[in-house]
């Protein structure tokens, strides 16, 4: 196979508040995030050669072909503009698509924006979530979205003997990290007991195991090497990209392990020349729409062996020592989806923004203490099916 020749950097990032309901339209939220990304990159829309949009189901915003609807808020008017889409994996996938826009040599500066306005679906996006299931053999059973997570969590716990008390620590960690995130929707200082006492939604998933639906947008600016070096002293290079989609038939595979995340990670690590992920990666933002997902995905990212992400972790001290901001390997220093909120595509891109800020040393109170050089962001989506991975280096 051929090799990648053109280096691509992230040179700016922007983000809105993440909240359950926002007055702004999806276009207006996109504008806020895009504008901030452009300003921090020190450029204007006229410097942008192309725009890549990421947004999850149209059924959230309630607009058919919503990429077209959003485009002028994303700065796409009179420009090459396209929307890419892999369900919940979209947020990390959007800068991946922007990466190939630049790496191909066609464009020098590309804006990648992700938006979600889940409050449009009223009173709750749950009905929209049911449209992700096969209409013939699944929807008639009356599923809600949490079902599939509960089934996966149960399988993960049962295969590895992982306990709910351990998994709850992830929620404790991320919600606490989010206290330092200025955009966070549900930051909190909670305990394992709070999680275990929270309302049971779909056993074993309880309310505090879940990230909240949100409105929000996030954006990054990507530039080719010669532009990046001109505009900033601190470009953050995209050194690896990977994505992978597994079969439609999720009941036909063992849910205990996300092989598709592993494959996506292998692709990205190979490109970045990473051979020993836990040693070579300094900070990670695995996708955490549910607390067990962080463990599941960290294992898929090969940051821990299968079933061992929480091995030996018994209490708060253990998890912060291992995965806190000054821990062995900081995981979700942003506060993750559990703490910052989950406007699907925007949440994935928020993780890419976080790695960007961490690698530039601009994360403020959230800055990890190990002087990170290499970071990885990952998202996941569809029917327990897709992994998207991006590796970045300072």
């Amino acid at each position: 196979m051929a090799s990648v020749k053109r280096r691509v950097a992230v040179i700016g990032a922007g983000i809105t508040l993440f909240r359950r309901r926002m007055r702004e339209t999806g276009r207006e939220l996109s504008f806020y995030a895009a504008k901030m990304a452009l300003e921090t990159a020190g450029i204007t829309i006229r410097d942008v050669d192309a725009v890549v949009c990421g947004s999850a189901p149209d059924a959230f915003d309630g607009v058919h072909m919503k990429g077209e609807y959003l485009l002028d808020g994303m700065g796409g008017h009179n420009k090459p503009y396209v929307r890419v889409y892999v369900g919940g994996g979209t947020g990390v996938f959007t800068p991946i698509a922007a990466w190939w826009h630049v790496a191909s040599g066609h464009f020098d500066v590309v804006l990648a924006i992700a938006e979600e306005k889940m409050s449009s679906c009223h009173p709750h996006p749950q009905k929209a979530f049911t449209t992700i299931f096969d209409p013939i053999y699944t929807r008639p059973l009356g599923p809600n979205l949490v079902w599939i997570f509960a089934l996966e969590m149960q399988r993960y716990m049962s295969v590895h003997g992982v306990k709910k008390e351990q998994i709850a620590l992830i929620s404790v960690k991320n919600k606490r990290n989010a206290l330092d995130h200025p955009c966070a929707q549900l930051p909190a200082k909670i305990t394992v007991q709070d999680v275990l006492n929270s309302e049971v939604m779909v056993w074993p998933v309880q309310r505090l195991d879940i990230s909240p639906p949100s409105d929000g947008a996030a954006a990054v600016v990507l530039a080719a090497e010669h532009i990046a070096k001109r505009l900033t002293d601190d470009p953050v290079w995209i050194e690896g990209v990977g994505w992978c989609l597994d079969s439609t038939y999720w009941t036909n595979r063992d849910l205990y392990y996300p092989k598709y995340v592993e494959y996506a990670a292998r692709m990205a690590y190979k490109m970045a020349g990473i051979k020993n992920p836990p040693k070579e990666i300094d900070v990670a933002e695995p996708y955490d729409p549910f607390d067990y997902k962080e463990a599941h995905h960290a294992e898929g990212l090969m940051l821990a062996r299968k079933g061992e992400y929480l091995k030996g972790i018994k209490d708060e001290d253990d998890i912060f020592a291992r995965y806190g901001r000054d821990g062995d390997l900081p995981i979700c220093p942003s506060g993750g989806l559990l703490g910052v909120g989950n406007p699907i595509a925007a949440a994935g891109l928020m993780k890419v923004c976080e790695i960007f800020w961490q690698l530039r040393g601009e994360a403020g109170k959230r800055q990890v203490k190990n002087d990170p050089r290499t970071g990885v962001a990952q998202a996941w989506g569809d029917l327990m099916q897709v992994g998207t991975v991006i590796v970045m280096r300072a």
Binding site: P57, M65, L71, P80, S104, G105, G242, L245, S247
Partner: protein, 389 residues
């Protein structure tokens, strides 16, 4: 500077007003099987990446790529949705290859329009919920408004648009993939039911089902796979705001920008001379004339004269929509543009059968994303020759 990329395999299925006997899955499986056979490849072994082009509300469920990998041979491979016409999938496949990431990429687009019971309301639901939807208009009103301004500015007549219908439906009679071939006269079109003046019923392309799959490869792989690679010489895409109030209603700016990008890449300076055939979006008859002009083939206002002179006929100097276009083949939703690329590939290979255009070496396919958008893409394909610049 870029790696050269070629289309090395094409496959298709469906192409009928209804495909009630199969689901979209079998439809895609058949088209994919044909494409892989055409390219001489095994998708499980030889393909690095897959792109499907779809919009949720056309399908009736959310996140279409969930339901894609199995029937494309894409399970546990890099696969994604580009939420746009298949031509957008094509340009992203080219970029994936040119980035150096992959050597072989597959693109799929389809229409299962016959599954949709409420097409009109889906179009309405694509309009801005704050400013446009509250008017309570059928989306075709926007086409009527645009057509009126286009005719006003260019001096073209309704009859010219009717001639486009006549030409394309006649071309379609020779194309076995076309669902709506017919001998329809200009007068028949003029006498058809008025919808939104000057737009009439026969000015509108009816819906059809169909699936197109293409295999793209980097030059070194393409040469190994085929003696007849169809090179991607140029490509471009562009959008204008979806807000109708601020758009230019005569010119198709999106097609101007997209084609300029494509010509620059292909080193084409005089498209009317350097391109041998055009496949342009004609989901509404006037759109063919508008798009031909936007592509720089002639000035605004001149396409109708060239049409009168027979330049755009299948045996004319510059055939436009020899396939029959959307008016003759049917509106294939997100497969509309990829079908045009398929037609160009077949023409350039000399495999177009009874509607073959003689001696075509360079062809252009263009798509528009349909109402209510102002977005579209252009791809220029050619048989073996040096790329300009």
């Amino acid at each position: 500077m870029e790696r050269r990329v070629a289309i090395v395999g094409v496959g298709y299925s469906g192409f009928a007003p209804q495909t009630a006997d199969v689901s979209y899955k079998e439809l895609m499986f058949e088209a994919a099987t044909r494409a892989y056979e055409d390219a001489g490849i095994d998708p499980r072994r030889d393909v690095n990446s897959f792109i499907t082009c779809a919009e949720d509300y056309w399908e009736g469920f959310s996140i279409f790529d969930e339901f894609v990998p199995d029937q494309l041979g894409a399970v546990l491979k890099p696969t994604c949705t580009v939420s746009a016409d298949g031509l957008y999938g094509l340009v992203n496949a080219v970029m994936q290859i040119q980035s150096g990431l992959f050597d072989v990429v597959v693109v799929e687009a389809h229409s299962k329009a016959s599954d949709i019971l409420t097409y009109d309301d889906l179009l309405r639901f694509a309009m801005d919920p704050i400013y446009t939807r509250p008017l309570g208009w059928h989306a075709y009103a926007l086409a009527g408004l645009e057509m009126a301004r286009y005719l006003y500015d260019t001096g073209a007549l309704e009859e010219h648009c009717a001639m486009v219908v006549e030409k394309n439906k006649a071309n379609a009679l020779l194309n076995p993939l076309a669902s709506y071939g017919a001998k329809v006269s200009m007068d028949d079109v003029m006498a058809s039911r008025p919808l939104f003046s000057p737009l009439k019923e026969l000015d509108v392309a009816p819906l059809a089902d169909g699936c197109v799959v293409m295999v793209l490869a980097a030059e070194e792989v393409a040469r190994r796979l085929t003696d007849m690679p169809i090179w991607v010489l140029g490509m471009g895409w562009a959008s204008e705001s979806i807000s109708p109030e601020i758009r230019d209603w005569c010119r198709a700016i999106y097609a101007e920008l997209a084609s300029q990008m494509a010509y620059d890449m292909a080193g084409i300076t005089s498209p009317a001379k350097e391109v041998d055939l055009l496949e342009v979006d004609d989901r509404f008859s006037y759109k063919e004339l508008q798009h031909v002009e936007a592509l720089g083939i002639c000035a605004y206002g001149e396409a109708c004269r060239l049409l009168e002179e027979g330049i755009f006929d299948r045996d004319g100097d510059l055939p436009v929509n020899p396939s029959g276009g959307s008016l003759g083949v049917g509106n294939l939703l997100e497969a509309s543009g990829l079908f045009r690329a398929l037609e160009v590939v077949l023409q350039l290979r000399g495999e177009a059968g009874r509607h073959q255009v003689p001696d075509a070496e360079v062809g252009l396919a263009q798509c528009w994303r349909g109402l209510p958008t102002a977005s579209g893409a252009v791809i220029i394909l050619g048989v073996e020759r040096e790329v300009g610049a």
